[in-house]
Symmetry: C2
Subunit: 159 residues, 2 copies
């Protein structure tokens, strides 16, 4: 019976996340525990091919910085962008609501660890698994090109 | 000097909210303290004339009900819909972000107090002040016509 149990355990391995899957390439960022309960910084709508509704959430360190207007964000600030396909509501004409979840994207502020990318580590996840290295190579360049003056963060606090 | 102080106090009254302004007609619903820190249930997009992005938040009673799938919502559940004008991002092509705040809309579950409107009290606020009675007369009819089977609540939890 012990042998049977061992076989079962091995057979299950491919169904679970490996360490490589649940942390991002380059940055080693993981999806933080409890992030879905964080406060809303702002919603957004990504049109075009994305066609997504998004909710950008912040951990307590990030929210305090937003409310105080602190820039750059302090170490320990973490942002989570949750994205869903944007679908027409079947219950209210003209309204659009979240469909299936697409990505969860995480930014972690650690000015020493991520000194070469503005102090931010990035992680992009689909179904809980980090996407490939090539996608992570584009994160900082885009943030640097567009929002360098807001500590490389796109989202503003929606009062 | 006492007379001068009295005059000042009277002069300030028009600048503060009266009891009629900060609670809704018909329902007596007020904007709950601390609602901006509540968890996100879901974002939404209202197209057409509204052209708004919205974030619908829930108090702890409401969030527990959403996570447990409890219907009808228990007494004490409160939902807050925050709306902002939807504006194109100046920093990322194809993205839309919150502009100026437009309305805050509150639903309060109290099955006894609001028995004639599905157990829900409604409040619609602009700049912290409740809108007029005529607007509040339309709330329940619309919720009843469209989402009676979801305890009169449009918003679903975006996982």
């Amino acid at each position: 019976m012990l042998c049977v149990a061992t076989v079962c355990a091995v057979a299950l391995v491919p169904l679970t996340l490996s360490a490589a899957d649940d942390s991002s390439p380059i940055f080693g960022v993981r999806i933080p525990a409890g992030y879905r309960r964080w406060e809303l910084i702002a919603p957004s709508h990504e049109a075009g091919g994305f066609n997504e509704l998004r909710g950008i959430l912040g951990n307590p360190v990030a929210m305090q910085a937003y409310r105080d207007g602190t820039l750059p964000f302090p170490d320990g600030a973490v942002l989570a962008k949750l994205a869903w396909k944007r679908e027409p509501s079947t219950e209210f004409e003209g309204a659009f609501v979240p469909g299936r979840a697409t990505t969860v994207q995480i930014m972690v502020k650690d000015s020493k660890r991520y000194a070469s990318t503005g102090g931010w580590g990035f992680g992009r996840f689909i179904d809980g698994r980090a996407v490939d290295r090539a996608q992570h190579e584009t994160c900082f360049g885009c943030h640097q090109a567009n929002v360098k003056d807001h500590d490389y963060v796109f989202t503003r606090f929606a009062q």
